[in-house]
């Protein structure tokens, strides 16, 4: 069963004659509970692919199906709500809300969905990620690794089916990076989630079930 499917996905930036084809007729499918790595040189279109799959940006043509639903057939509000329920994001530069403390940052997506956080689950996530001591801190008072763990906790807390991560270890030293990756791998396994992780790091890619290689907006290899 494929949970994440892209068909003929194309994304162009700019206007004629300076068009950049960031994605060029990409076809791919990711199975449920897969832990996939996306690799490729800088500027090859990895982030663009992730943005399309995660419904953060809309493609020039082609379609994306998440859990069997064509996400670009929905209107913007429906898509936002769908994304909020199904997908958790982790980014290289963390993207935490600076004016809210760690706990608020973690539970915010749940509450935006109009739900009460499942306290025991959230507590578990927090414990697994070792953030129990930092719950009342503002993001600016945390180290990079800690911030990244908050971002992971935020992505996990909503119990999304899919986790999309764009170079989650890019800003971390190799030791912390490995720690974060291990955490990510074990938590997604534990919670039965599908994960897609963009990375430049061979060590990181090696932890994946398989990897997808992109060059010049095209998928060149899958293994």
């Amino acid at each position: 069963m494929s949970i994440l499917v892209a068909e003929d996905l194309t994304k162009e930036y700019g206007v004629k004659p300076n068009i950049v084809k960031a994605l060029d007729h990409v076809n791919l499918s990711v199975g449920e509970k897969d832990f996939v790595a996306v690799v490729g040189t800088s500027g090859s279109g990895k982030s663009t692919l992730l943005h399309m799959l995660g419904a953060l940006d809309s493609p020039t043509s082609g379609c994306v199906r998440v859990d069997g639903k064509d996400i670009f057939k929905m209107n913007e509000e429906e898509r936002t709500v769908f994304r909020r329920k199904k997908i958790g994001f982790i980014f290289q530069n963390f993207n935490l809300i600076p004016i809210m403390n760690v706990y608020d940052n973690i539970v915010l997506p749940i509450m935006l969905d109009g739900k009460t956080p499942d306290e025991s689950f959230v507590k578990k996530v927090i414990e697994v990620l070792g953030l129990s001591e930092k719950l009342n801190n503002l993001p600016s008072n945390l180290s990079g690794g800690q911030q990244q763990r908050v971002a992971i906790a935020r992505a996990l807390a909503t119990k999304p089916a899919i986790i999309l991560a764009d170079e989650p270890t890019g800003n971390l030293d190799s030791k912390t990076g490995e720690e974060v990756m291990n955490l990510l791998k074990s938590t997604t396994k534990e919670f039965g989630q599908t994960a897609m992780i963009i990375t430049h790091d061979e060590k990181v890619a090696a932890k994946a079930d398989y990897r997808i290689r992109i060059e010049d907006g095209k998928i060149t290899g899958e293994k």
């Binding site: 953060l56 509000e77 936002t80 709500v81 980014f91 993207n95 935006l112 969905d113 009460t116």
Partner: protein, 835 residues
């Protein structure tokens, strides 16, 4: 906690993180609210003062009045459920005041206190008369009767009852402050007294109102009063009894003038625009700066609807602070300004309205302005893509620009160019700031030009052409009707003329008579075929004569005043006029080009004494308003004779007005003597050129005060807007500045650059003011001068240039202040902290 709660919590956090923005937003909301409050308070005060003055002038605040009811009829009507309040005022007769034939007072008997209250004649000391020997009246009457206002004083009056003259002595049971502007006083006696007096009274003519009841009425509401009266009369079975009623014109549905509506809409529109310019700027600058966090909220799954609510909640909170503050301040400002504005109105009652509706309407208007002002920010948020949050901190204000030309030309670094280039980076923001600055400058300009356009000579010469005008008091008091051959008689004129210092003098004389002329009705019939003039005839004040007699006036003027006569023919032979065989005739008032007679026609004037003489019509001319007696019998002609001829024909020798010119050096002493003399007689009054000069200054001052207040507030809005955009732009570019410094730009250069940036604002503002603003100003002044006759069309640009200079100083001060504050950190500190 639920989703609604989380949105409030986010709003609260965002609010907390934007203190500076909040301050500016609250200031903007307060200023806008002040403007709205002032406009609504002044308008409401005007309306309530005018209505109240009208009511007082009418002598009643009731919706209407049943007239001449019998006791039976009154009883039937007063029981009707349509009526909220009713009472009667029984007509007895007229009280005459010895030595003052022009003051009238009606002798009445009131059913209850409500009637006295609604007719502004309720005793404030004591009570209405109850016993047969009691009486209540106002202080003006008491003064004329020579009675000290004290309960229990003895009051003797004489009054007319039918054709008889009666008199009586009473005990004062109550009195109240008289109102010099009301048309007639009321003197109350008790029911036992009137019953006794009227027991054997026989009507002296068919419709003799003596003993009948006038009944003021208040219905439950003031809508459709006429049909209410009609229905009530029919419902009471009095349909055929010939019951009469009058509806108070105060409650007539108001016909609003298009010019007034236009002014109001323009004014409100202007405030909405001003408010929009600043509030929208404050919000969109702040949201553009925060756009990354809004994109971030989108990434973690916040919908547009939720973001909209987050912004709305903040706006609501700021409104909750700003609007009440603005209401209070605005009302305080209005309390100061409103009294000045009353000078333009002809009102006797001036109250500053505190109608709660003012505050409700103001709050609604302010809230409306604030909410439309957030439109642009909400659009900004809606359009931002979530992935914006993933990019580095680029400005989204100039996102439409793909490439940028180099702003650094080879050679020396041109700081001016850098500064200007920065201004153009944020076009929309600049546009708002410039418009809001320009608005205040344009208004300053208009007020300044307006005040300078006030033509004192025009104003004064319309009211007075000599130094002093002395007249029978009745002429200048609204509760008196001038009666022919009045109090400025020969003796008084010669008394006055004996005062030292008079250079020149001349009198106006006046007489009423019935003109008998068979030609006139035919002439009217002929005129009424012209549709314009037909309308004039239809209007209520044009009385038509049933037979061939027409009520008319004769005026006569001494030679000194000939210059004041408005001659409508090409020229007049004054020598012929002086012979006394000729008469001047007024033009038809509905259309001054229409004549009653042709030159050379003859008219026969028969005066009250019965004396008759036939005159030849010499030409068409009018006595100016300032020399007339204040009432005329439209549409009938009026005549002018030389004064010698007038006196011979009518036998009247009393002047209505005595005009004087006085030697300048003796003016002060003269005025003192004259004022003492007038006060002593109590029956004659004077006005002077200085009096009108003071009135003129008062009216001018009103425009100065209104214009100044408006310009000040608008100017303040402009400056706040300017400050907000300068300060926020400097703060958001702190990192950019730090970068520039790190690559070697000197602080001084940076300072100059920022100053040039603010100069650019002033420069473009001036450009708008001098082109577009000049056009608006010209139109506005032309409009005002067409509405107010003593305003000449005279537009000036001077004021805005002076203000612009002030702005430049401001610009310098602001950029220096903000910058020096920033300068306290080292370059490295700045690069780190502003990351």
């Amino acid at each position: 906690m639920n989703a609604k709660n989380i949105l409030s919590r986010i709003s609260a956090k965002v609010l907390k993180a934007n203190r500076l923005r909040n301050t500016f937003a609250v200031i903007a909301i307060v200023l806008t609210t002040i403007l709205f409050t002032s406009i609504f308070t002044v308008t409401a005060s005007w309306l309530s003062s005018m209505t109240e003055s009208d009511k007082r002038h009418l002598g009643t605040a009731a919706h209407g009045e049943f007239k001449y009811l019998t006791e039976e009829q009154y009883k039937t009507i007063s029981a009707h459920p349509l009526i909220k309040d009713i009472g009667y005022s029984q007509i007895i007769g007229f009280v005459s005041v010895p030595g003052n034939h022009s003051l009238s007072a009606e002798l009445r008997c009131a059913s209850n206190e409500w009637v006295a209250d609604i007719t502004y004649s309720k005793p404030t000391v004591g009570a209405l008369p109850e016993k047969e020997n009691e009486i209540a009246l106002d202080t003006i009457m008491l003064e004329y009767l020579g009675v000290t206002p004290q309960l229990g004083s003895e009051v003797s009056i004489t009054f007319g009852l039918g054709n008889e003259e009666k008199s009586g002595t009473f005990i004062l049971s109550g009195f109240w402050e008289g109102d010099a502007t009301s048309p007639a006083s009321i003197v109350w006696v008790s029911k036992p007294y009137s019953d006794k007096l009227l027991k054997d009274y026989e009507p002296v003519f068919e419709e003799d109102p003596t003993g009948k009841y006038n009944a003021p009425v208040m219905f439950w509401d003031s809508k459709h009063l006429e049909s209410k009266f009609d229905y009530l009369i029919t419902d009471c079975g009095l349909g055929n009894a010939g019951v009469r009623f009058g509806i108070s014109p105060v409650y007539h549905e108001v016909k609003i003038k298009p010019a007034a509506v236009l002014m109001a809409v323009a004014l409100l529109g202007m405030i909405v625009i001003c408010g929009y310019l600043i509030i929208s700027n404050v919000f969109s600058i702040s949201i553009a700066n925060d756009i990354h966090s809004y994109a971030l909220y989108k990434i973690i799954g916040t919908t547009n609807k939720q973001l909209k609510r987050i912004v709305r909640k903040q706006v609501l909170f700021l409104c909750f602070i700003g609007i009440p503050l603005g209401l209070v301040t605005g009302y305080a400002v209005s309390c100061v300004v409103t009294p000045f504005t009353f000078r333009i109105l002809n009102v006797s009652v001036t109250n500053i309205s505190a109608n709660p509706l003012i505050f409700v309407v103001t709050a609604l208007f302010s809230a409306f302005t604030v909410f439309i002002s957030t439109y642009r920010s909400l659009k900004l948020i809606k359009e931002v893509s979530p992935i914006t949050a993933l990019r580095s901190n680029e400005s989204t204000l100039n996102k439409s620009k793909k490439v940028q030309k180099s702003i650094l030309k080879p050679g020396k670094l041109n700081v001016l160019r850098l500064g200007f280039a920065n201004v153009f980076r944020y076009k929309k923001k600049m546009f708002n700031v410039i418009l809001s600055l320009a608005f205040s400058l344009i208004l300053v300009n208009i007020s300044y030009s307006l005040v300078n356009s006030f033509d004192m000579d025009a104003y004064i010469s319309k009211n007075i052409t000599c130094d002093y005008m002395i007249a029978d008091s009745a002429l200048y008091m609204s509760n008196h009707l001038y009666v022919e051959n009045g109090l400025l008689n020969r003796d008084r004129v010669s008394d006055i003329l004996s005062i030292e210092g008079i250079k020149e003098s001349g009198s106006v004389y006046f007489s009423e008579f019935d003109l008998e002329d068979k030609r006139l009705n035919a002439r009217y019939l002929e005129l009424s075929t012209d549709p314009m003039i037909a309308d004039y005839f239809k209007s209520s004040f044009a009385e038509k004569s049933q037979n061939d007699t027409f009520q008319s006036h004769i005026y006569a003027l001494d030679e000194m005043l000939y210059e004041d006569i408005r001659v409508l023919d090409e020229k007049l032979d004054w020598d012929l006029f002086e012979t006394g065989d000729y008469v001047l005739v007024s033009p038809f008032l509905g259309n001054e080009n229409v004549r009653y007679y042709a030159p050379g026609d003859t008219v026969e004037l028969t005066v009250q004494s019965g004396k008759t003489k036939t005159y030849k019509v010499l030409g068409t001319a009018r006595v100016p308003d300032r020399l007339e007696v204040g009432h005329s019998h439209l549409p009938n002609p009026e005549f002018i004779l030389p004064s010698k001829e007038f006196k011979e024909l009518t036998g009247n020798t009393a002047s209505t007005i005595l005009a004087l010119n006085v030697t300048d050096s003796e003016k002060e002493e003269f005025e003192q003597t004259l004022s003492d003399y007038c006060e002593n007689t109590g029956e004659i009054t004077y006005v002077s050129r200085d009096y009108y000069k003071a009135m003129f200054d008062g009216e001018k001052q009103m425009f100065v005060v209104i214009g100044l207040t408006l310009s000040l507030i608008l100017g303040f809005i402009g400056i706040v807007n300017f400050m907000n955009s300068m300060i926020t732009s400097i703060i958001t570019r702190r990192r950019e500045f730090a970068l520039m410094q790190s690559i070697g730009m000197e602080t001084k250069q940076l300072n100059v650059m920022i100053f040039f940036e603010s100069l650019a604002y002033v420069f473009f503002t001036l450009l708008v003011v001098l082109t577009f603003g000049a056009l608006i100003g010209k139109v506005a002044i032309a409009f005002v001068s067409s509405v107010i006759w003593y305003v000449t069309d005279h537009f000036m640009i001077r004021a805005s240039i002076v203000c612009a200079l002030l702005f430049i100083v401001f610009a310098g001060l602001i950029s220096c202040a903000v910058f020096s504050n920033m300068q306290k950190k080292t370059v490295m500190e700045k690069l780190v902290t502003y990351d």
